[in-house]
């Protein structure tokens, strides 16, 4: 599957990333550790305290630095996916690639592998640096290989999934702006939808929204995608890692399926596939209506909140129907 | 050298054939001169190479040019070119006709024209003799 020309082209387009990303990652992780444990004059004292209590987690700040690193990597892979898929539609690059003697599958795979390698490479490099820093610092006695390995495994799985998601969005949207927007939406959509549904249920049926059970607590956590990036070390489990790996594989497969069916003549449309446009339209209308219903319930005090909700819902429905229909016809200039 | 006239009634390959023959008749191309290859002429005139090839085939058939494998295409010897001779004779007759017409327009009478022709023939013969004497003297 190795095609030198395709790799060199990816590299030519993303040269900045290849060098910038590990550096930024280092600032978050290795340098952070360095700062804390070698540069800081109080380090030695702290090390003695932790050594006394055997508190490895505290010494490693329960994964704070790794979280920091994950967030930067998330930003990087989103922008990379934008460069690899979104901008290509605009400057004739995608058409150029499609005219070459390579299958679309191969082109996609090269791109994805490039991103995946960047993630893996930066993680490996920076974890190694981190390990060296720890081993050379006053907290060396508390060094835990298991800690580093758990963190790197989890981060890799999580970021591969995030990257695959960004890539998938890149293969179904026809412009760089719509790719960015949908990417952001994807981040807030799960928890946002939950919140809207919860509020709607509260207003329309009972006064408590979704029940206060364990299931719903867990669900909220899971839907709040950002929390996975800030996950503290004691919550990192191999189950989560596995789920994200599987998710990464599924999303990547979806991206490949979609890329093979890409129609360059549709570049410039916000969403490339007609059926997907419809799905997004329905979803957008549903969410917008609920949102406006909520506002309506808050604004209109004509007796029951339900009335205000209904009015808001109807208004939201109409406006979003019009707006989304318009958006479906939009074609940005390529 | 060769100019293709797009508005002409002649197909392009015929224009090439006749223009090459004209160049030879005028003396611009002499016996043994190398003419451009099909590829070169095609690029020079911006004419499809098959068309040029067709013209060259015709010229070769008429004995006007000859292709030496590995070396190139050359103007053939006049003796080998019966087609050329015919062409040149026709050209000469046409020139004569044009002279006759022009003379008529200028009001020069038949007798005057015939006298002029004889004078020119006489002058030419004297020049040839002088040249002959000259070369004999130089030897």
């Amino acid at each position: 599957m190795w095609a030198k020309a395709l790799w060199s082209r990816e590299y030519a387009q993303a040269r900045l990333f290849v060098w910038g990303v590990p550096v930024v990652h280092f600032l978050a992780l290795g340098f952070g550790r360095l700062n804390q444990w070698i540069l800081d004059p109080a380090a030695v004292g702290r090390a003695e305290r932790y050594a006394g209590s055997g508190d490895i987690l505290a010494a490693y700040q329960n994964g704070d630095l790794e979280s920091f690193g994950r967030v930067w990597l998330l930003l990087a892979v989103c922008v990379l996916a934008l460069v690899q898929f979104g901008t290509e539609r605009r400057n004739g690059s995608q058409e150029f690639l499609f005219s070459l003697p390579y299958s679309r599958r191969r082109i996609f795979f090269t791109k994805w592998l490039f991103g995946a390698s960047l993630i893996a490479g930066s993680l490996v490099l920076n974890t190694a640096i981190d390990m060296i820093v720890v081993a050379a610092s006053p907290m060396a006695p508390l060094f835990s290989l298991n800690y580093h390995l758990t963190e790197i495994g989890y981060s890799a799985a999580l970021l591969l999934a995030a990257y695959s998601a960004a890539v998938l969005i890149g293969t179904v949207t026809g412009t760089a702006p719509s790719q960015s927007v949908f990417l952001v939406l994807l981040g807030i959509l799960p928890i946002g939808t939950y919140a809207l549904l919860d509020e709607s249920v509260r207003i329309m049926w009972n006064d408590r929204g979704f029940p206060d059970t364990f299931f719903y607590e867990e669900l909220q956590d899971a839907l709040n995608l950002s929390h996975f990036f800030f996950l503290q070390h004691d919550f990192v489990t191999w189950q989560k890692t596995l789920v994200f790996l599987l998710l990464a594989a599924a999303l990547a497969a979806g991206g490949m399926w979609s890329y093979e069916r890409n129609k360059p003549e549709n570049n410039g449309k916000l969403i490339l596939f007609g059926w997907l446009e419809l799905v997004c339209q329905i979803g957008a209308i549903a969410l917008a209506s609920m949102f406006c219903g909520m506002i309506g319930a808050g604004l209109i005090h004509a007796g029951e909140a339900r009335i205000g909700y209904a009015v808001g819902f109807a208004a939201g429905f109409a406006v979003s129907l019009l707006a989304t229909s318009r958006l479906r016809k939009v074609r940005l200039k390529t | 050298m060769i100019q293709i006239h797009e508005r002409s009634l002649l197909p392009i390959f015929e224009q090439i054939v006749s223009q090459i023959k004209e160049l030879i008749a005028k003396g611009a191309l002499a016996e043994g001169d190398k003419i451009p290859s099909v590829r070169e002429l095609s690029a020079m005139l911006l004419v499809n190479h098959n068309t040029v090839a067709k013209a060259y085939q015709e010229l070769e058939r008429q004995g006007v040019i000859v292709t030496v494998r590995g070396k190139g295409t050359y103007v053939a010897k006049a003796a080998d070119a019966p087609g050329m001779l015919q062409e040149r004779l026709t050209g000469l007759r046409e020139q004569l006709r044009r002279l006759v017409v022009e003379a008529h327009h200028l009001g020069i009478g038949e007798d005057q024209l015939k006298r002029w022709v004889e004078e020119e023939i006489g002058r030419y013969r004297r020049e040839e003799d002088a040249h002959g004497l000259q070369s004999a003297q130089d030897d």
Partner: protein
């Protein structure tokens, strides 16, 4: 042999290509003509594998390029602007192409760039339009692919660069490369092309150049006896190209089903002289007319 077979392509619910079939052999130069918006670029891009046809196929030899994209090593597409390669130097592009096309001729490419005074180490984004086209054409020919597809290669470039591009193409054709060139410049195409592909209403009609006789049209210079027959002149089987004084330049259908030519003969005109049919006339006959304003 590059064969296009029953190609159909709809874009934005409009059928751009309806039933396109033709073939181009080795060493042939084919000119693709049609009104603006008739689908020339769509056809070329579908042949290059950029667009996927709704039905039908494009074959290199016996191999469908949709099923086997590697076959496209022999089919290279040169768009009217090399914007995908902005940011590379000429040398960088050659390097990239050398990794893609196994027979890439680096020596030829360098010589061509030198011949036309194009710098190898400058970003091609800064080239003038003429330089860009010259560069793209040289790059495409240097791949030594059997078929080179060009989308309006001489559009909007100065006459000197245009001549240079055409010279390069003629040399490549003489060396055995097949060219498919979409163009509006009928005079040029007439000289350089072996065959003309006329794209109209989503289908392609093939004509061999120099053999317009088989197009079923006669071009005539006519002077009528007496009054010019307005009704006959207005018939769809007759087209008036020019009308100066009493002299008409006409295109008259010679299709077996048409009686127009016979009718003209029956009128016993004072003058009825055949003229050579030019590509321009064919274009006007097939693609001109109020229903075809594009």
């Amino acid at each position: 042999m590059l064969t296009v077979c029953n190609l159909r392509k709809t874009i934005d619910r409009k059928p751009v290509l309806r039933q396109v079939s033709f073939s181009v052999g080795p060493g042939q130069v084919a000119g693709l003509v049609g009104r603006n918006g008739s689908g020339k670029t769509t056809l070329l891009k579908t042949m290059a594998g950029i667009f996927t046809p709704d039905s039908g196929e494009v074959r290199y030899g016996e191999t469908s390029i949709a099923a086997h994209p590697e076959a496209k090593r022999e089919v290279v597409f040169i768009p009217d602007s090399p914007e995908a390669l902005y940011g590379y130097t000429a040398y960088g592009c050659a390097d990239l192409y050398a990794n893609i096309y196994p027979r890439f001729d680096m020596l030829f490419f360098k010589e061509t760039m030198k011949r036309f005074g194009l710098p190898l180490d400058k970003n091609i984004r800064h080239f003038s339009k003429g330089m860009k086209m010259l560069f793209s054409t040289g790059l495409g020919i240097a791949t030594r692919a059997q078929f080179v597809l060009l989308d309006e290669p001489t559009n909007g470039i100065d006459p000197i660069a245009k001549k240079q591009v055409l010279t390069l193409l003629m040399e490549a054709a003489a060396d055995g490369t097949s060219l498919i060139i979409s163009s509006h410049l009928l005079d040029e195409l007439e000289r350089i092309a072996d065959k003309v592909l006329l794209l109209k209403d989503g289908t392609v009609e093939t004509y061999e150049t120099g053999d317009e006789a088989n197009a079923g049209i006669a071009k005539l210079q006519v002077v009528f006896r007496g009054e010019a027959p307005a009704a006959w002149l207005a018939s769809p089987e007759v087209k008036v190209l020019e009308h100066v004084g009493r002299v008409y330049t006409l295109l008259v259908s010679r299709a077996p089903s048409s009686s127009a030519y016979g009718e003209l003969e029956a009128m016993k005109p004072l003058l009825m002289e055949p003229l050579p049919l030019r590509l321009e006339d064919l274009f006007a006959w097939k693609l001109g007319g109020p229903s075809n304003v594009g």
